[in-house]
């Protein structure tokens, strides 16, 4: 992660370059205090790591959108074997913003479905920036019904700015496709586990996040609407998105407090996710642990718990 994602990064870069100048000067002047410089260097690194560990909500939003984050196909490659990707809704099209298929995870055959963004602009256009059209949701629905037929547990990976906001998507019933998934998942007769890996954008993300367990990466977000949208509608000033990011309580810690997600997978600091063995191990371990638990539950009980899990969400005052 070498690109400048956050403002604070330039500060540290400034400090680091100033320190390098000092080191150069000390060499030039033949005045050795390399021990002390090493200590300063270490301290700066510590402070920087600490800063990365405490990203603001808005910084987490930016982090969650990073195209260098692994996408569904990367997770399948990391975690599964024997992946066979399945295409198409058998109605209208195949949507590259959603990837799905069957694979083997830790000895279990699973159906895997998730969003797919591109790694660069060209790929992003192919994948529509990870924004599904109705045919993507309908492909997902078809694969879910297939998982049900063969009693295969389902894993979904969530990383989307939201559903495609285009004319064609509206014409073909974007809202209808999403609600069908929400209802369908709530009644699906197999265990379902969701992992929010990046940007959890609005209803377009929720459509694949009705599950028995929801895991979330520590710098992923899940929000009712993008902070920019909220700022532009509520504050009439899109530049105040960072304020909205804080107000919306869209990060993993807040969502765990609210009972919306179950477990946070800690991301490594200043290291690509998949390069960190501790991260990939804890992802695999958590997935397996939760999957074992829900696969060990009778389906009627599982469906009742899945319903009650949703049913109790909401805070209000009631006068009898």
């Amino acid at each position: 992660m070498t690109r400048n994602k956050f403002e604070f990064e330039s500060n540290y870069r400034l400090l680091e370059s100033k320190l390098a100048e000092l080191r150069d000067l000390s060499v030039t002047l033949n005045c050795d205090f390399s021990n002390e410089i090493a200590k300063v260097e270490k301290r700066i690194a510590e402070l920087k790591a600490e800063r990365y560990r405490h990203l603001t909500p808005w910084e987490q939003v930016l982090m969650s959108r990073d195209l260098e984050r692994p996408m569904t196909r990367d997770f399948v490659e990391l975690l599964c074997t024997d992946f066979v990707e399945m295409h198409g809704d058998r109605l209208y099209g195949d949507d590259p913003a959603i990837v799905g298929g069957i694979a083997v995870f830790e000895g279990r055959v699973v159906t895997v479905i998730g969003h797919q963004k591109g790694k660069d602009t060209k790929e992003n256009i192919v994948h529509n920036f990870g924004m599904p059209r109705p045919e993507g949701y309908r492909k997902a629905f078809r694969l879910l019904k297939q998982a049900e037929k063969f009693s295969r547990p389902v894993i979904t990976f969530i990383n989307t700015p939201g559903a495609d906001p285009g004319v064609g998507a509206e014409e073909r019933g974007e809202a209808w496709a999403i609600s069908q998934l929400l209802l369908g998942l709530s009644q699906l007769q197999v265990p379902v586990i969701s992992v929010i890996t990046g940007e959890g954008g609005s209803g377009g993300a929720l459509a694949l996040t009705v599950a028995d367990r929801i895991l979330m990466f520590s710098n992923a977000v899940f929000s009712v609407a993008s902070p920019e949208t909220c700022a532009s509608i509520l504050l009439r000033d899109v530049k105040r998105a960072d304020e909205m990011a804080a107000a919306l309580k869209l990060n993993a810690v807040s969502l765990k407090d609210m009972g919306i997600i179950d477990e946070i997978i800690e991301e490594p600091v200043m290291e690509p996710l998949l390069s960190s063995q501790s991260f990939t191990q804890s992802l695999r371990y958590s997935l397996k642990k939760h999957l074992d638990e829900i696969c060990g539950t009778e389906i009627p009980d599982l469906l009742e718990m899945r319903y009650q899990r949703l049913r109790k969400i909401g805070r209000f005052h009631e006068i009898q």
Binding site: G166, R172, A175, S179, G203, A207, I313, G314, H317, I319
Partner: protein, 289 residues
């Protein structure tokens, strides 16, 4: 934490009191243009004409209670879950003030009114959203009231009828709000499993999280003429895609043509359609009223 300052009305609400409430959603003080044909109207003319434009028949927004009273048998409506009111669970800036203002202006506790009633002699669970209350946005209370109404219908084998009108999820409640989409959709799943008839009426405007959850999951989906219905709002689509929207885009007639609605019914004939559907649903042995 916000506590409602007045005891919410229970059971029967007097319609005459409601009628006096100024309809702020579509109108300004004095004269205003019809949004469809641009003819200038006064509030009095509009009310006189049953909330339609006298020139083009445009259906102006009406309140939740007017919706319900417009289709139910006289004195049959009993409001339920009227005691639910919104909190500010995220301490979201200005939310408490907005809630207070909406309550004051609409004399409603929230953006949906639910209960039981009879239509043409058939008992039903019914609800109506009110666009004047924070754009009919769905927060915890709207989701909870709709869920309870749906569950009641499922348990008592009643048809469930809902008038939808919403700008989407209530952003001020963050993810608690978004999750109401999943919660209400799951409840509809149980309603279908119980075999109840579910009729959803999409009125102007029905967008966002409401369209993408319970509103589009009914057995019969009815649109009001000219109603804007969709997921993403037209302005956002135009801004995001830079595309000019086709004429009639996202209007009920457009949705019908694209296969999303069962039929379009003018407001004045809504009751007779509901009676017919309920009659037929019951086996066609009831006389129409």
């Amino acid at each position: 934490m916000f506590k409602p300052s007045f005891k919410p009305k229970k059971t029967y609400i007097d319609l005459s009191a409601v009628k006096k409430t100024p309809v702020t959603f579509d109108t300004r003080e004095g004269n205003f243009p019809c949004p469809a044909c641009s003819v200038w109207l006064s509030e009095a003319e509009k009310i006189q004409n049953n909330d339609f434009c006298p020139r083009c028949g445009y259906h102006f927004a009406v309140g939740a209670l007017e919706r319900i009273y417009g289709v139910c048998d006289e004195n049959s409506f009993t409001e339920l879950d009227a005691g639910l009111s919104s909190l500010n669970p995220l301490d979201f800036p200005d939310y408490a003030d907005k809630l207070a203002k909406a309550r004051e202006e609409t004399i409603l506790m929230e953006a949906v009114v639910t209960g039981t009633a009879a239509i043409g002699g058939h008992n039903v669970a019914i609800g109506a959203m009110d666009g004047r209350f924070m754009m009919g946005s769905m927060g915890s209370v709207v989701g909870e009231k709709i869920c309870r109404a749906i569950e009641r219908a499922a348990e008592q084998s009643l048809p469930f009828i809902i008038f939808c009108c919403s700008g989407g999820a209530r952003m001020q409640e963050g993810m608690l709000s978004l999750m109401q989409m999943a919660k209400t959709s799951a409840a509809v799943g149980r309603l279908h499993a119980a075999g109840s008839l579910y009729i959803s009426i999409l009125t102007h405007p029905t967008t966002g999280g409401v369209t993408a959850s319970f509103a589009s999951l009914a057995d019969v989906i009815i649109g009001e003429p000219g109603a804007l219905i969709g997921f993403t709002g037209p302005r956002v689509i135009e801004q995001t895609t830079g595309q000019k929207l086709p004429p009639g885009f996202q209007r009920a007639e457009f949705l019908l043509e694209h296969g999303m609605l069962d039929l379009i019914q003018p407001r004045l004939e809504m009751r007779s359609l509901l009676v017919r559907l309920l009659n037929v649903h019951q086996g066609g042995n009831h006389d129409q009223k």
